[in-house]
């Protein structure tokens, strides 16, 4: 039986069909080698930590690279806009607006109470009262 038939359809076919495969393929030069890399977390940690931390990177690249990074961060900031704390929608309109809007949406007394409570809790989230101070 030909070699080609034996390895047909296997992952190693490409590597073995090449005449020089065993010598040219780095991973095949040692036929009985294998390496248990561990779990996904271990593999990732190994690769991710195989250089200095990102914090150090920023320092090392201070200057134009750092500026570039800052620019990139700025691009990121678009998505992370305000970190969801002090967006214009909540904070800009102020406590009164929220209260008004909530009060409008309901005519019953109980609902008003609930709305007021809700608006209070919103106020707490939104800038933690900093907007009001301003």
């Amino acid at each position: 039986m030909k070699k080609a038939n034996l390895i047909k359809g296997t992952l190693v076919a490409g590597a073995l069909l090449s005449v020089t495969a065993l010598s040219a393929t780095p991973n095949a030069s040692r036929l009985f080698d294998y390496n248990a890399l561990g779990s996904g977390a271990e593999v990732r940690t190994e690769i991710l930590n195989s250089e200095t931390s990102q914090f150090n990177n920023y320092e090392a690249k201070c200057g134009e690279k750092a500026a570039k990074k800052a620019k990139a961060e700025g691009k990121k900031a678009e998505a992370k806009c305000g970190e969801g704390k002090c967006g214009e929608g909540k904070c800009g309109e102020g406590k009164g607006d929220v209260k008004k809007a909530d009060a409008k949406s309901s005519s019953k007394k109980a609902s008003k109470k609930a709305a007021a409570t809700e608006s209070k809790s919103k106020e707490m989230k939104c800038g933690e009262g900093k907007c009001e101070d301003k």
Partner: protein, 250 residues
């Protein structure tokens, strides 16, 4: 229930805005509030991709990564409703868009695929384990293995090194991944070409180990059968302790 054309158009415009951020007129919306919807949706996509591909995210230039993610989210219509499967479509998208060439990241397809596979294997449905007998002689039997596994071939050793170092080491790399039954953790084993051939044949369960040995001797031009047996048995014993080899089929 069919939507009214106008409703459908409104929803489509809104979805498209969430995806590409290009301003559109949507009835009854406050233009100042609209960006927050996009921000919230886009953050989920970004976060999911960054979590699924931590190595890619770390080593690929931020601007390139952001462009890839933006292009993907704005132009690719995801087919799967499950968010955790969405990164698979990102892998396919990057491949289809030929980003390896466009961004000069030769390792990109391998790296994304390698990172995705852990999620896929971790999340896969439970497979039926075969009935095994662990006491019989391996040589004359068909060996049974953990069915929750995958063997892949990579062009770049992205599982071993930092991506940009791996980029200079193009070759044939073989990787076995399997999910541990008890913990659910995905284990990675880097394999030689010979062991890959061995495992592939074992998985097929068409031949006994002895028959596979004969093929190996012929294909790899090995003369020393005893050495082959010794090395393979050591390997299989190790895989058994790790939970990949289960025993022999009953």
């Amino acid at each position: 229930m069919l939507l009214k054309t106008e409703t459908y158009n409104q929803q489509s415009n809104f979805v498209q805005y969430c995806r590409d951020g290009k301003e559109v007129a949507i009835l009854g919306t406050n233009p100042e509030r609209l960006p927050h919807y996009r921000r919230l949706v886009f953050n989920i996509i970004k976060d999911t991709l960054e979590t699924t591909f931590p190595i890619s995210f770390k080593y690929i230039d931020t601007e390139i990564w952001d462009e890839m993610v933006y292009n993907y989210f704005s132009s690719h219509k995801c087919n799967d409703p499950q968010v955790w499967r969405m990164p698979k479509e990102f892998v396919d998208f990057c491949k289809a868009e030929n980003y390896t060439t466009k961004f000069n990241l030769p390792f990109l397809n391998d790296l994304l695929y390698f990172e995705w596979l852990e999620v896929e294997l971790y999340m896969m449905e439970d497979d039926t384990y075969p009935q095994v007998n662990s006491t019989k002689d391996w040589l004359k039997e068909k060996i049974a293995v953990n069915p929750e596994h995958k063997i892949i071939k990579l062009e770049y050793p992205v599982h071993l090194e930092k991506p940009f170092e791996a980029a200079n080491k193009k070759g044939d790399y073989f990787l076995l991944l399997f999910r541990e039954k008890e913990t659910g953790k995905v284990q990675f084993i880097n394999l030689s070409v010979l062991f890959t051939f061995l495992i592939e044949n074992i998985v097929l369960a068409e031949k006994t180990l002895e028959e596979i040995f004969n093929d190996i001797l012929y294909i790899f031009g090995i003369n020393d059968l005893e050495m082959l047996r010794s090395e393979v048995f050591k390997f299989l014993e190790d895989l058994k302790t790790r939970g990949f080899v289960l025993g022999v089929h009953c």
